[in-house]
């Protein structure tokens, strides 16, 4: 028997699923006592180069409220040509096309190795991908040029039939008509006025799109003037971008430029809504500063009034926060309802209002990228990363994904946490107990990447007095419908199963089936989700309590004797993850702007397990003249990658030793981390911020804030000793944390 470790890895590789518990407690009460809920991280579109999609429709259970897809777990009567649904036990005849089915001639979906299978289906017209650029023109000339370059570059990456559109904004919002000869035309909207969808429809020549399907077909025939196939308007658009000017309205001294981000987005959403509802589309918003006027305004144009900080928010002193957030939420929901996703590329030294705007991306599955300037490789490469392609040459993006979860009777779905919105599909699978986005068993993910991962929380419904019999198996089916980036409509079905275990008798088994990494990430998502709506300390307290309860449940100790406390191997790292999580910017807002917090949280709730884990507990590679790099401790959380050069080495570097032949090895030393970093940079999205710093350099704080504060003013005994200077932080060290944890875990009063 393979270890759980291997099993987990295998499952993840095949199905993109990581469960917190790989044996499920057989009753609700038992499940509750396990502290960490039965839940999983699911990556719907995990890249499976080895999985060829099948070219036919899935076979569905005929029961109206089930509709589960035929899968390897189903009982099949080859002679009667019927199959029993493993969720509702309905017996279904095979469709005529399966007439030749037999035990030796099974369709793929019945084979165990195809617990995940992808169907290509013919449904509706194939609409090309749509990319709508929404560009802020209130940028510094340098930034604007860089951005224009990036945009022009991106045009070359788009498939020729993709539809593109361009909206620029500053004080006004301009929607550019792309097909015109001669005079460049654009429609202009005032940046201060919220336009209803209807008002935007007033734009003439916009094909009137009734929301039903007939309209959509028509839309394809008469593409809007504002969204044109790239192959037809390539030149136009390139020129247009080339002639793009900075916002021509003068900015008086002491004022911010007037930036109508809100209206621009409103127009973009309205435009797509009117022309291509329920079609995969991507709104890409590029901003160089906060919205300063109109709906969605985050800060006024007076420079003397700074943009809101956490302090302001806590004091309820952020004037525009609620209104703006409400505005963007409404917009995000509208966009999500139509299946359009919104990316935000914000490059500015100050905040740009991501806090308010984050829901745009969170609800629609769009990206958020934050940088200092468009004129950096961070942005350029990240932006390029959006258009990265898989081994088939298709974009690593998918649109209009709908995830449906079906469970066997013993389980119900509590909710999901990730870049999705609820479709409010009530059904037998839906639990009344909500965790994350609940109350439904279907979610919409307007945009998906192979790494988009949802945390899905389940509930065991069997009562304690009627547990599930031993040896039973529970099953979950994930049905993901989406539009592939090559415009195909596909359905990916993943059906997984786990054994039930009696928590009373098989607690060891259950304990050993614990996936502490998955559990840490899932708990972290819950924490982050709570942090969005609750006060930071409350969330931390909740996390601490969960951790303590878990330790109490699974720890081996003598009461009131902290030193006796032991955790099994399967849980040994979990407290450490929690320790780092507590200190992470996902939960701590100190030293982070509201925008940064939003940014981190946004990324945390969508990355797959590995990335998430790294973000919780950074990995620090150290390099020396001797031997290969070794992982010493947590490196910077995801968005940052710091190249920390020690003091001594820095002096050498300044002296220019690396240029001297006799110090060749030194040069290599310096180069090594950079090379490694580049490797990492290439695989991450968004591109981590690469910070090259040295001891005592200003940017060293990024590193120091991430590493374990093993020496702080809290343990001054270390002061002056060889371990070097203390790292000044309010946080406790891991050691202290663990000590407290043990104490509390063994305490009977807890």
């Amino acid at each position: 028997m393979t270890t759980y470790q291997e099993f987990i890895q295998q499952n993840e590789d095949r199905d993109g699923v990581r469960f917190s518990w790989n044996l499920w407690p057989s009753s609700r009460l038992e499940a509750t006592r396990l502290v960490v809920p039965v839940s999983c991280l699911f990556t719907p579109l995990k890249e499976r180069p080895d999985l060829p999609p099948v070219q036919y429709e899935p076979v569905l259970c005929s029961r109206a409220n089930c509709k589960a897809v035929l899968n390897p777990l189903c009982q099949v009567d080859f002679r009667a040509k019927v199959w029993a649904c493993n969720f509702c036990f309905q017996r279904n005849p095979f469709p005529p096309s399966y007439a030749g089915i037999s035990e030796v001639n099974q369709p793929a979906e019945l084979m165990p190795q195809f617990s995940t299978i992808e169907y290509i289906v013919q449904r509706g017209p194939q609409t090309p991908l749509i990319f709508l650029y929404v560009v802020d023109t209130c940028l510094e000339e340098e930034d604007l040029q860089a951005l224009k370059g990036s945009l022009q570059m991106s045009l070359s990456l788009l498939p020729p039939n993709a539809l593109v559109g361009l909206i620029t904004f500053g004080r006004m919002v301009q929607v550019h008509e792309l097909s015109c000869e001669g005079i460049a035309k654009s429609y202009v909207f005032r940046g201060t006025k919220d336009l209803t969808s209807k008002q935007i429809q007033v734009v003439p020549w916009l094909p009137r799109m009734p929301l039903h399907r007939a309209g959509r077909r028509e839309a394809t025939r008469h593409p809007s003037l504002f969204l044109q196939p790239i192959h037809r308007v390539d030149m136009n658009l390139t020129d247009l971008l080339g002639e793009l000017q900075r916002d021509p309205w003068p900015v008086p001294q002491g004022k911010r430029p007037l930036r109508s981000t809100g209206v621009a987005l409103s127009v973009a959403v309205g435009l797509l809504e009117g022309t291509f509802p329920n079609t995969g589309a991507r709104v890409m918003l590029f901003v160089g500063g906060p919205p300063t006027q109109g709906p969605g305004m985050v800060v006024g144009d007076e420079l003397k009034i700074p943009i809101r900080s956490w302090h302001d928010i806590q004091k309820d002193n952020a004037r525009h926060l609620k209104k703006a957030t409400k505005f963007y939420e409404a917009l995000g929901n509208r966009s999500a309802a139509n299946g359009h996703s919104i990316d935000i590329y914000a490059c500015a030294l100050d905040q740009t209002g991501l806090l308010e705007m984050k829901c745009l991306s969170n609800l629609t599955g769009g990206h958020i990228v934050m940088g200092d300037s468009f004129n950096t490789s961070l942005f350029t490469q990240t932006f390029q990363g959006v258009f990265s392609k898989d081994h088939n040459g298709d974009f690593r993006m998918a649109f209009g994904g709908v995830l449906e979860i079906k469970t066997s009777r013993e389980l119900k779905v509590c909710g999901a946490i990730g870049p999705c919105v609820s479709l409010n599909s009530k059904g037998p699978y839906v639990s009344e107990n909500e965790m994350g986005i609940g109350g439904t068993n279907q979610w919409k993910m307007c945009s998906l990447t192979p790494s988009s991962t949802l945390g899905i929380y389940l509930e065991v419904v069997n009562q304690h007095n009627a547990p599930i019999p031993q040896g039973g198996r529970g099953a979950i089916q994930f049905v993901t419908q989406y539009q592939h980036s090559n415009t195909q409509k596909r359905i990916r079905v993943t059906t997984i199963t786990r054994n039930w275990a009696d928590a009373q008798s098989q607690i060891q088994h259950i304990e050993s089936s614990f996936d502490q990494e998955a559990a840490a990430v899932l708990m972290a998502r819950l924490g982050v989700f709570r942090a969005e709506s609750e006060e930071g300390p409350d969330v931390l307290r909740w996390l601490d309590r969960q951790l303590i309860r878990l330790c109490q449940k699974f720890g081996q100790y003598n009461k009131e004797d902290p030193t006796s406390f032991r955790l099994s191997e399967s849980l040994s790292l979990y407290p450490q993850f929690m320790f780092h999580l507590r200190r992470s910017p996902f939960l701590q807002v100190f030293n982070n702007s509201p925008d940064e917090s939003s940014y981190y949280r946004h990324h945390f709730t969508r990355q797959d397990l590995t990335q998430s884990l790294i973000m919780i507990q950074p990995i620090l590679y150290s390099y020396s003249f001797h031997g290969p790099p070794e992982v010493s401790l947590a490196p910077p959380t995801h968005p940052y990658r710091v190249c920390f050069v020690l003091q001594t080495i820095a002096q050498w570097q300044k002296a220019g030793y690396q240029e001297m032949p006799e110090y060749q090895n030194f040069k290599q030393l310096l180069k090594a981390p950079q090379d490694d970093a580049n490797d990492i940079l290439e695989t991450r999205f968004p591109m981590p911020r690469y910070i090259n710093t040295e001891h005592g350099g200003s940017q060293a704080r990024f590193l120091l804030s991430k590493v374990n504060p093993s020496q702080t003013h809290n343990n001054l005994y270390a002061w002056g000793q060889e371990s070097g200077a203390p790292i000044l932080t309010d946080d406790v060290s891991l050691q202290v944390f663990m000590d407290h944890l043990k104490k509390l875990a063994v305490s009977s009063s807890a």
Partner: protein, 1246 residues
């Protein structure tokens, strides 16, 4: 009385004539003969001018602090006047109030008379302060010269000489009057034209009159005299003639009238002598008609003349004097005044008149020539002052009768009307001649006839003549009623010298007359025209007379090239010097005191310190030494450079911007309009207004097209291609861009041209038919706001804005409402939106010019709100078709874009204590009761200001008004344009009636009435007009005219055209729409009239109808009256209204003429749709096209030529403009209206 005296004198032709001429315009009648034109003019002008002269004295005093001089002048004038003028004027104006008349006359006479006495006195005064006095002198005769001097410092010497000359002259003959009347010029010329003979005869008697001429003599007596008076004018006259040339400038208008008389007299002399007449008989004949007209209405002039009373007519006069005289006596009485004119006209008039002449001749032909001037005058008098004087006048009349006859007839008819009612019996015989209305004619005829017969031997001849004429006896003979043509031609003939503005209260020549103006302290009539140049002193008088007191101000009027535009005065950082209390600007009326350290405001009497930098010593007369170096101390019109205090927000204004907003909806594109505009703009943009022709205009331009949405264009010079920015959110308009929208033409030329090339293509396939309008103006407004500048929007619009947007309108045209009490609502805007928008526009200095191209109802009343409130214009091209309307539209557009214009203007009219500007009419906006705010003010816009008394005025100081317009010039400079105007004040109503201007009154009344339709039923408005007119005339009749039978219609000379013009106003489409007149047209006209100046309203209400005969000669043919009867089947006529231009072709025109004009010999082959005449190489064609071009050049709007063939369908439209006829919509004919008016007057009197 005087007249009488004179009359006696008169016997000798010369003397009588002068007397007549002076008194009644009668003299002119004579003039006709030799100096046909002069005479006629003189009569009309004469009275006025004559009076002026009297006034001048006052004026002088007021003007310059030369009271002494003024005094001197006055005395002189007085003496002289009593002699000559007294009589002359007396008769005309006030038969009843001889005294008044006398006094007035005196004044006038002073001018006219200039008789012996004055000369002496005058002479002395002038010499003393030659320079300074010059002004004073100028007032009289020499004044003019002085003014010129004012302008140029150097002149002093010249002035002196001039004055000297003038002095001499004046001194010589009748000096005072002569010079004062400088007018002689006018008269002189005519005289010259006319036969010398008369002059000689007159010379004797006329000396006084000639005195004026005498003045002239000094300068170039020989030449001038030769021409004018040479033969006719005795030595004295000759001098006068000489004067004209030299003195012309100086004497100009003021003197002219008087002079005219003299000349006229001379002319009369000519005519009087039978011999001369023969030669001019035709002329005289024609003249007669005119003369008569004058007399009857202007009876005052002629009638009053005691002379008449003296004559036999008196008795008759009482009842029928007029009638009786009509034939003979009328001629007599009128002749003096009118006859003169007629005499003058003859030359010019003849052609047109000839047809009628036939009749006249019949009537009086005989008499006129033989009877000589004397009789006519008397007749005229008789008419006016039927009773006593008439008798004698009639005899005199006879002489003049020939010319008068026609006039007489006309004149009499009216009288007959009135008179007929009573004593008609006698008239029967005459009735025939009168043809006119049985009513009038029937009864009156006999009496008249009798009278006429009685008075003169002439009657008989007349009687004989009459019969033929009488054919249509039942009605009043149209030729017998006052003829606008006659008046116009008289005035033209009379005006031969520049009009100098130095004399206070002097009425300028008519707007139809070409004349030059010398600014000598009052604003040129091109800038300011008043209804009355002699304001009543008290509110009671004003109320009694009902004569509106108003001024028509055209602040930025363009002056002819030979006149200097207002000087720009820069007072430095302190800004213009102003009165501390009333804030009046420094002007010639300010009195410097305390050695020049302070000045006293003549408006409010407040004393203000003179700023040190402005200090200047005074000379011994109390005048600043630098008076003539400073325009603001010596001129009536000038400009100040405004300082930053006068700028909005205390910021120097940005250069203005022009924004073109073009409708590109289906209709506009289809009609070709869009491409026409775009094509034209390409070249037009090089002609934006600029102050320095060498420099590029600093005006920036922007472009917008629109249908249901708006398209802005970025034409920044750095762009390779223009960019179009569409704003579809019209509910809340904004400007999508700033930088690149308003650009300098030269910098962005390529981009702009590219844009203009592409616009028509871009919208070639448009199917959008709906348009917006409110947002279009808002867009322009917002653009100007964003650019922080003033400017002008050119909106080219086609249809009713029914698209969903602010200012959306619905079709509310409902013909059923016409004539009901609700009709007024159709003139009111549909929605308040545009009123608010207009207010915003005004605040920003955003002027809107609207070009409409409707194919159906567009609700001009509402669309026009903004243009009208912002000082903009509306142009309307109904059923626009590229081929036929392009030319008109493009010419309008060119002119509109190129014409000088000021922005963000505020006009304030300040007045001296006693009167106050109470009401304003025109295209502007008012936030309070005093400031007229004009977002834009162009050179064609006139503002009519009404004055009311709030206290008593004094005759000594007169009434002053100062119009100050603060505006931003097209180069972005902030300026103040000041116009000063001083008028006389009178305590006698007769003076008021003697010195007013009917054209201006009509301008006021029409604007008043057209505004009235907004709030009152049109019927009520019409009734009000008729009532007011009746009251004006009744008041005159009651207080100023000599006692006469109630049956007589007696009109003041100055207002004898009031009925005919008023009738035209009443018949206008606005007040009395025909079935085919759309509501839009009415609203359009209503708004159009509101900013017209006097010249425009004049031709609009009384179109100019030119018979195309004798085209080869240089002069324009004399117009004929607007009546179908005047059209000859064999003729071709040109009719212009200022808006329309018709070429009417009679059905039986000679082939040759057709060939010459149209290049085809056949009437049937003429293409009636042609809009321009073929270019043919023959003199007639060339000349005709020249005339048409010159007409167009005169008007602010291009007139499309419409060809009307007789009996053609289009003739209906043409006939609509024959305003003396009954109109299809029920408007009364001139004759009918006159009768009606007479009835009204009688009712008022009884």
């Amino acid at each position: 009385m005087n007249v009488n005296q004179h009359t006696p004198m008169a016997p000798p032709y010369g003397q009588p004539q002068p007397s007549y001429g002076q008194p009644g315009y009668g003299q002119p009648t004579y003039a006709p003969l030799d100096s046909g034109y002069p005479a006629p003019y003189t009569p009309h002008n004469g009275p006025a001018s004559a009076y002026h002269p009297g006034i001048p004295p006052q004026g002088y005093s007021s003007f310059t602090s030369f009271p002494s001089k003024a005094m001197a002048a006055n005395p002189i004038s007085d003496p002289s006047s009593p002699l000559d003028l007294g009589p002359a004027r007396g008769p005309p104006t006030s038969g009843p109030t001889p005294v008044q008349a006398a006094s007035q006359y005196n004044q006038h006479s002073s001018g006219d008379m200039q008789n012996g006495p004055p000369p002496a006195t005058q002479a002395p005064p002038r010499p003393p302060a030659s320079l300074q006095y010059n002004p004073g002198g100028v007032n009289m005769s020499a004044q003019q010269p002085s003014f010129p001097q004012h302008y140029g410092p150097p002149p002093t010497m010249h002035q002196v000489t001039n004055q000297m000359t003038g002095m001499h002259i004046s001194s010589g003959p009748p000096t005072p009057a002569g010079p004062g009347y400088a007018p002689p010029p006018s008269s002189q010329p005519p005289t010259s034209h006319y036969s010398a003979p008369p002059q000689p005869s007159y010379s004797q008697s006329h000396p006084p009159a000639s005195s004026a001429p005498s003045q002239l003599p000094p300068s170039s007596a020989p030449a001038g005299s030769q021409q004018y008076y040479p033969s006719s004018a005795p030595p004295s006259q000759q001098p006068i003639s000489s004067l004209p040339p030299t003195s012309q400038q100086r004497f100009v208008s003021p003197g002219q009238p008087q002079h005219t008389f003299p000349p006229s007299s001379t002319s009369y002399a000519g005519p009087a002598p039978p011999p001369t007449q023969p030669a001019s008989t035709p002329v005289t004949q024609t003249q007669p008609p005119f003369l008569p007209h004058q007399p009857p209405f202007s009876s005052a002039p002629g009638g009053q003349p005691p002379a008449f009373t003296t004559g036999p007519p008196p008795p008759a006069q009482g009842s029928f004097p007029p009638q009786a005289p009509p034939p003979s006596s009328q001629p007599g009485s009128f002749p003096p005044p009118s006859s003169v004119s007629s005499g003058q006209y003859p030359s010019s008039m003849p052609p047109p008149q000839q047809p009628p002449q036939s009749q006249p001749p019949t009537y009086h032909p005989g008499p006129p020539p033989p009877q000589a001037q004397m009789p006519p005058t008397s007749i005229g008098q008789s008419n006016h002052q039927p009773p006593g004087p008439q008798g004698p006048p009639s005899p005199t009349g006879p002489l003049q009768q020939p010319p008068l006859q026609q006039g007489m007839q006309t004149g009499y008819p009216p009288q007959h009307n009135g008179a007929f009612g009573q004593p008609r019996s006698p008239q029967p015989g005459y009735g025939g001649p009168y043809q006119g209305q049985p009513n009038y004619g029937a009864p009156a005829p006999t009496p008249q006839a009798q009278k006429r017969l009685d008075p003169d031997a002439i009657p008989s001849p007349q009687a004989s003549d009459m019969p033929p004429v009488q054919k249509s006896r039942h009605r009043i003979d149209p030729d017998a009623i006052p003829s606008p043509i006659q008046v116009i031609e008289d005035d033209k003939a009379k005006t031969t010298e520049p009009f100098t503005t130095g004399v206070r209260g002097q009425a300028p020549p008519l707007v139809t007359t070409n004349f030059q103006v010398k600014d000598q302290g009052n604003a040129s009539p091109r800038f300011v025209r008043c209804t009355a140049y002699n304001m009543p002193c008290t509110a009671d008088m004003a109320k009694q007379s009902q004569v509106p007191l108003a001024a028509v101000i055209k602040p930025l009027a363009i002056l002819p090239p030979d006149e200097t535009p207002p000087y720009l005065v820069d007072h430095g950082e302190g800004g213009p010097i102003r009165c501390n209390r009333c804030k009046a600007y420094m002007c010639p009326y300010m009195q410097f005191i305390e050695g020049g350290r302070r000045f006293q405001c003549s408006f409010c009497s407040c004393v203000t310190e003179v700023p040190p930098h402005y200090f200047q010593h005074l000379d011994h007369t109390g005048r600043r030494v630098d008076c003539y170096d400073r325009p603001e101390l010596s001129l009536g019109s000038y400009e100040f450079l405004a300082t930053v205090d006068y700028c909005k927000n205390n910021k120097i204004p940005q250069p203005p911007a022009y924004i073109f907003l073009i409708d590109v909806s289906y209709n506009a594109v289809k009609s070709g309009l869009v491409s026409i505009i775009c094509q034209e703009l390409k070249s037009l943009l090089d002609h934006l207004p600029r102050e320095n022709p060498e420099m590029d205009s600093v005006i920036r331009v922007g472009f917008v097209t629109y249908n249901k949405v708006l398209h802005f264009y970025n034409v920044k010079s750095s762009l390779a291609q223009p960019q179009m920015l569409v704003v579809s959110d019209v509910s809340d308009m904004f400007v999508p861009l700033l930088d690149g929208f308003l650009v300098n033409v030269n910098e962005s030329r390529q981009v702009i041209e590219s844009l203009l090339d592409q616009i028509p293509e871009m919208f070639a396939d448009t199917r959008e038919t709906e348009t917006v309008f409110g947002p279009v103006i808002q867009a322009g407004l917002e653009a100007l706001k964003a650019a922080d500048c003033a400017g002008k929007l050119f909106v080219f619009h086609t249809s009713l804005p029914i698209a969903e947007a602010p200012g959306k309108l619905k079709n509310r045209e409902d013909k059923k409402l016409i004539g009901t009490d609700k009709e007024k609502s159709l003139f009111q805007p549909q929605a308040g939106f545009y009123n608010n928008l207009a207010k915003e526009c005004v605040t920003q200095g955003c002027c809107v010019d609207l070009f409409l191209f409707p194919n159906q109802y567009v609700d001009v009343a509402t669309l026009g709100v903004v243009p009208v409130s912002t000082g903009g214009s509306i142009y309307k091209y109904t059923y626009f078709q590229a081929e036929s309307d392009q030319e008109r539209f493009l010419n309008d557009l060119r002119r509109d874009v190129q014409k000088p214009v000021g922005f963000d203007a505020v006009m304030r009219v300040r007045t001296s204590t006693g009167i106050r500007a109470t009401d304003f009419f025109g295209s502007f906006f008012m936030n309070n009761t005093t400031d007229v705010e004009l977002a834009g003010l162009d050179c064609d816009k006139a503002i009519t200001v009404e004055f009311k008394h709030d206290d008593k005025l004094s005759e000594e100081t007169g009434a002053l008004m100062q119009c100050a317009v603060l505006y931003t010039s097209c180069s972005g400079q902030r300026r103040l344009r000041i116009h000063n105007m001083a008028v006389n004040c009178c305590s006698q109503l007769a003076d008021l009636y003697r010195n007013c201007e009917t054209d201006t009154i009509i301008n006021f009344l029409s604007k008043y009435a057209f505004r009235g339709v907004l709030n009152n039923p049109t019927k009520a408005v019409r009734d009000t007009l008729v009532n007011q007119c009746a009251q004006i005339l009744a008041c005159y009749r009651k207080n100023c005219a000599s006692p006469s039978s109630a049956g007589q219609l007696i009109l003041p000379e100055c207002m004898k055209l009031l009925p005919v013009y008023l009738n035209c106003v009443l018949k206008s489409d606005v007040l009395l729409p025909g079935a085919d007149v759309s509501l839009d047209d009415r609203a359009y006209l209503r708004q159009l009239i509101s900013c017209m100046d006097v010249a425009e309203t004049h031709v609009f209400f009384y179109p100019r109808l030119l018979p195309l005969v004798k085209l080869e000669s240089g002069a324009l043919p004399v117009a004929v009256r607007d009546s179908e009867e005047r059209l000859s089947k064999g003729g071709v006529y040109l009719l212009e209204t200022g808006l329309h231009l018709f070429l009417w072709v009679g059905a039986s025109v000679q082939q040759e003429l057709l060939l010459n004009i149209f290049g085809t010999p056949s009437f049937g082959q003429i293409d009636s749709s042609m809009t321009s005449l073929p270019v043919l190489e023959n003199p007639i064609s060339q000349r005709l096209r020249e005339i048409i071009d010159s007409f167009r050049a005169q008007r602010s709007r291009y007139m499309k030529l419409i060809l009307v063939k007789q009996e053609d369908r289009a003739e209906l439209m043409f006939k609509h403009f024959l305003v003396e006829d009954k109109s299809a919509s029920g408007g009364a004919s001139y004759v009918d209206f006159l009768c009606h008016m007479h009835k009204e007057i009688r009712q008022l009197l009884s």
